[in-house]
């Protein structure tokens, strides 16, 4: 059965518009149509100038993160039927500059991601071996956090990032923890300065909404707050043994 729903999209072209505005579209939809498909309908049939990002349309790539009625969600796994007969308001993710319409500029996050060295800093294998083996329990220590693929919904959910854009933020700190918690990694000493700084884990006040909106159940708030303990231990270690050599 086809019904019609009103989708309000935030429109903004920074080069020509003084400020963002909402534009409404009447979109026919079926029960199996997502918000992303609603946007695609608009682009194909009503207004080809609407700009938004998407790729996999199956909650894998994270391109279609948007504010849907004020909540950060993936457009592809949010269904229009949930909002009918009401209106769906689609806006770009909070706290990021707008490139155009629903597409945001992720540069700030990407710089932060780079700063946490989100890769294995290779540890020398044990003597006589040429690879670092890993037990299933060792993998469990980081597996959950490795599922983070930067949808950025957590940043849109984080008021601390909104108030202080210098805060490293949930996803970057989660990926930092993911590599620090990996038994094959030797990069901890290089990453701890990012953890310890005022805008590292201490910028978090445990609002916890980042973990609520994460579509992959990564629990970034947990990764960040575990590192408050690590940061405290690191502080006391340096306080008690200032000349101790950093163990990786």
């Amino acid at each position: 059965m086809t019904r019609t729903i009103r989708i309000e999209c935030l429109r903004y072209h920074p080069e020509t518009d003084a400020e963002p505005r909402l534009q409404a579209y009447e979109v026919p939809f079926t029960d199996d149509m997502s918000v992303l498909q609603g946007l695609q309908y608009i682009k194909d049939h009503l207004d080809g100038s609407l700009t938004f990002r998407w790729s996999c349309r199956m909650a894998i790539c994270g391109s279609c993160g948007q504010m849907v009625n004020g909540v950060p969600r993936l457009g592809c796994e949010t269904f229009l039927r949930e909002f009918w007969p009401g209106t769906v308001r689609v806006e770009p993710l909070e706290h990021f500059p707008i490139v155009r319409d629903l597409a945001i500029d992720q540069s700030d996050f990407l710089a932060k991601l780079e700063s946490v060295k989100p890769y294995l800093v290779q540890k020398a294998p044990p003597a006589g071996e040429n690879t670092n083996l890993q037990a299933p329990e060792e993998m469990q220590a980081y597996y959950r956090y490795s599922k983070c693929i930067n949808y950025l919904l957590c940043y849109a959910a984080c008021p601390q990032y909104g108030l202080n854009p210098a805060f490293t933020g949930p996803a970057a700190l989660t990926l930092l923890h993911r590599y620090n918690a990996d038994s094959r990694d030797a990069g901890r000493a290089q990453r701890m300065p990012v953890v310890n700084q005022e805008d590292g884990v201490w910028g978090c006040t445990l609002v916890g909404y980042c973990s609520e909106v994460c579509p992959k159940d990564v629990d970034p708030a947990r990764a960040v707050n575990q590192n408050k303990v690590n940061s405290t231990l690191d502080y006391f270690k340096h306080f008690l043994f200032p000349r101790a050599k950093e163990k990786s």
Binding site: D219, R222, Q226
Partner: protein, 121 residues
């Protein structure tokens, strides 16, 4: 960002959690004041006990009790996020914390009640 905490109920509950510490502090100060009055002797302590029964004090305590209970609940609710990774499910950690807190409070109440009975001349 002005008024950001009004955008979603989740933020409002967070702000309430943070604001609840004001009541906890006030309650702690009242207790500390009582301790000081106790150190000053029986008369001052009796005065302090009497001041607890005034309408203003009763109104404060009636408001502080639910706020402190909410604070305690949120404290245990975020507990799984602050502990190192364990195999325990988050719900079990929260439930365990709340149960332990309730048991301690009940034990304290019983102890005070029993001590009160025992100390009556």
């Amino acid at each position: 960002m002005a008024g950001w905490w009004k955008r979603h109920p989740y933020y409002l509950w967070y702000m309430l959690r943070e604001a609840s510490c004001v009541f906890i502090t006030a309650y702690a100060l009242i207790l500390l004041w009582g301790l000081r009055r106790l150190a000053q002797g029986e008369g001052p302590f009796e005065d302090w006990l009497e001041s607890l029964g005034t309408p203003g004090s009763l109104a404060f305590h009636a408001l502080a009790l639910p706020v402190v209970l909410y604070h305690a609940w949120t404290w245990f609710k975020v507990m799984p996020k602050t502990l190192p990774d364990t195999r325990l499910p988050a719900a079990a950690i929260v439930a365990g914390g709340v149960a332990a807190s309730a048991a301690c409070s009940a034990a304290l109440l019983v102890a005070v009640w029993w001590f009160g009975l025992w100390s009556v001349p």
